[in-house]
Amino acid sequence: MDTNGATTSSAAGGGSTSKSSSKKHSRKPVYSRFTQQELPACKPILTPGLVIATFTIIGIIFIPLGLVSLSASEKVVEIVDRYDESCVPSDYSNDKLKFIQNPSINKSCVRTLTVPKLMKSPVFIYYQLDNYYQNHRRYVKSRSDKQLRSVSDEKSTKDCSPEDKTVDGPIVPCGLVAWSLFNDTYGFSVNSKTIEVNKHDIAWKSDKEHKFGSNVYPKNFQSGGLIGGAKLNSSVPLSKQEDLMVWMRTAALPTFRKLYGKIEQDLQANEKIQVVIQNNYNTYSFSGKKKLVLSTTSWIGGKNDFLGIAYIIVGGLCLFLAVCFILLYVIKPRPLGDPSYLSWNRSPAGHPN
């Protein structure tokens, strides 16, 4: 084998350097911090101090927030009463479907609710439906927002079928969402004195002012063979049909409540409230449940302990982790930059892991 190294596989760059440096016109590009990737930068790393400080701050912020949320939720008074099973007369208890679908049977039902604690006004009345998939895609699609907004778009019913038109013309409002409007009604009285239920302002303002037209009136509604829910007064424009607007704002989950009305007086503790329910709505064919709910609200909303408890748990966990880290750094300090922990030094003979 020769030992001559005349032409090598890699080029000798030495010759070119002296030539380019002696050129008067340099082709070196203009230096800028951006193109040379030397921008001023902040390079944080997770030092022990930072980690402990972060966990401590999270713990300190979260625990009070959790206590505040929990106390707000605890202040809310809620009465939930399931009535769909008990509001069926005993002779129909084996054939609830026949009961509910027969329009000639009297559907009134009287329930008594006991107020557990003082409920300050306004007390909100909700109806709760379980196992009702208002978020099913075909159901959500089956409406026509254009038609709801203006009279001139009456005929745009293409997504609404089969509830789109009758022989007399298009159905307003069309679609399954409107067709299945909830139609149980509730009348409240205490000590034989009727309680006023305020059914104004239960829908969102944007619904009343922008999504439902003030000159659109119901037409041909529930006039077909199958009646799915409530009928609408055709002399009231849609922007004033609060129940319809509340119903048409589709719920997120299969168990949901919708606002029925407000009671604007205080309900004293241990009062017995008589509720006369018209049990019209058919939830029996799909084993749904119907519940009547009376609830006050706090500044954060209704009764849900989850957020308060979760905040407290996470805050406590973070404080615990902060303490653990303090102990760990004090008891087991590691020399920094110790290369024996490198991945290819940990396995024998430096084999890749």
Binding site: N4, A41, C42, I45, L253, D338, P339
Partner: protein
């Protein structure tokens, strides 16, 4: 033939005591060594040597040697040359680097990367090669993560709509997630991210081994990022839906409908995905600050703008933010809680890993942080203890073994 065989036996006999060999062969002998019956033995001999010099070889032979090495060993090959006679070799190798200058532009035109002088090869490999490897692997892992986190929340919601394919979010929210609300931070990371500065890349050349050993894109790392996406989606979805159940959403007794749940979950996703980016990089220039915080701010601006469009276009997102979400304290409480709860596990893992099981580039970051980077003895210790016995030449190995 005999020479090759005897050379091979010499190498294998003495390889046990870490002797380094060099092989020198010229063009005329190469013509015989590259014949089909001899080339495998030649290759084995060449691989056993620490360095091989082929002199007086023709362009065709250069290309054939390169091809032999590439196919025989299955490793990635790099060729560098500056003349027209190197063109074949540059094209044959996996990476061809052309040097522009004295011998014309032929090499440059047929190369993958062009540099001006041979000495720039060091910077190209150690600095840019390392950065590129890190950027690409981080970017791909992060892409999987953010799409899994986003898509899995939609999948989880489907379980609550009896799998009817109703998405939890408004259509345009879905479409624009990968366009506006999570793309710029990833692009900034893929283009600008640096784990250690150029100075340290050159000072600790063994950082390049991270790429050779593929530690940043191993299956374990890919699967861990995906797992991160899955559990983030689970936490976001279940915490949001549990906190926004059927009870009143605000103090006016209104209930959280689908648009409110969708808006809250989407806000949480945008925050989590962007803050995760802030937690995984350790290099913040003005650009990174603008894209990360700007993306989050843009989400709120977008909600306002999209909500202001007429209801015929924005359907159920019409005025959701202005009317329902922003005035309700529970929206802000839920967002804060879900975002922190989702990121705490990753933060914990990162803190433990950084301190107790740091990777090589993290060690260098610690050295820089501690201010020991200018201490030559300390750096020498880090470098020498990191060396694998088979990657460096004879003198360095002897020096290292003497030190130990």
């Amino acid at each position: 033939m005999e020479q090759i065989v005897s050379g091979k036996s010499q190498v294998s006999a003495l390889s046990a005591i870490s002797e380094a060999f060099a092989l020198i062969i010229d063009g005329k002998s190469l013509a015989y060594a590259l014949e089909d019956d001899m080339k495998n033995i030649f290759l084995e001999l060449a691989i056993g040597c620490a360095s091989v010099i082929c002199c007086r070889s023709s362009p065709k032979q250069k290309a054939l040697v390169t091809r032999l090495v590439k196919l025989g060993t299955g490793k990635t090959t790099l060729a560098i040359g500056d003349g027209a006679n190197d063109v074949g070799m540059l094209q044959e190798a996996d990476i061809g680097i052309g040097i522009s200058g004295v011998e014309g532009m032929q090499a440059v035109m047929s190369s993958d990367v062009a540099i001006a002088q041979f000495r720039y090869l060091e910077r190209l490999l150690l600095v840019h090669g390392h950065w590129c490897y890190r950027r690409i692997s981080s970017m791909i892992c992060y892409f999987f993560y953010k799409n899994i986190a986003f898509g899995f929340t939609i999948f989880l919601y489907e379980a609550y709509t009896s799998f009817s394919a109703q998405p939890a979010y408004n259509d345009w929210y879905l479409t624009l997630f990968n366009v506006f609300f999570s793309s710029l931070p990833v692009i900034a990371m893929g283009v600008f991210d640096q784990d250690v500065s150029a100075r340290f890349c050159l000072k600790f050349p063994l950082l390049y081994q991270e790429g050779v050993q593929n530690v940043l894109f191993s299956w374990r790392r890919i699967v861990s990022w995906m797992f991160n996406g899955f559990y983030s989606a689970i936490i976001i979805f279940f915490f949001c839906s549990r906190a926004l159940e059927q009870q009143a959403f605000n103090d006016e007794g209104k209930i959280a409908s689908k648009d409110i749940l969708g808006g809250t979950m989407y806000t949480c996703i945008v925050w989590v995905v962007n803050l995760q980016m802030a937690l995984s990089i350790s290099y913040f220039t003005l650009i990174q600050h603008i894209v990360i915080w700007g993306t989050i701010a843009f989400w709120y601006v977008f909600q306002l703008a999209y909500g202001a469009l007429p209801a015929s276009f924005s359907t159920d997102a019409y005025r959701v933010f202005v009317e329902a979400l922003a005035p309700a304290p529970s929206y802000w409480f839920i967002t804060l809680f879900v975002v922190i709860a989702t990121l705490t596990p990753y933060f914990l893992y990162s803190a433990i890993q950084m301190r107790f099981f740091p990777m090589y580039h993290e060690m260098i970051q610690w050295i820089r942080h501690e201010g020991l980077s200018d201490d030559p003895l300390y750096c020498e210790m880090v470098r020498q203890r990191s060396i694998r016995p088979t990657t460096v030449g004879f003198t360095a190995r002897r020096a290292a073994s003497r030190r130990q």
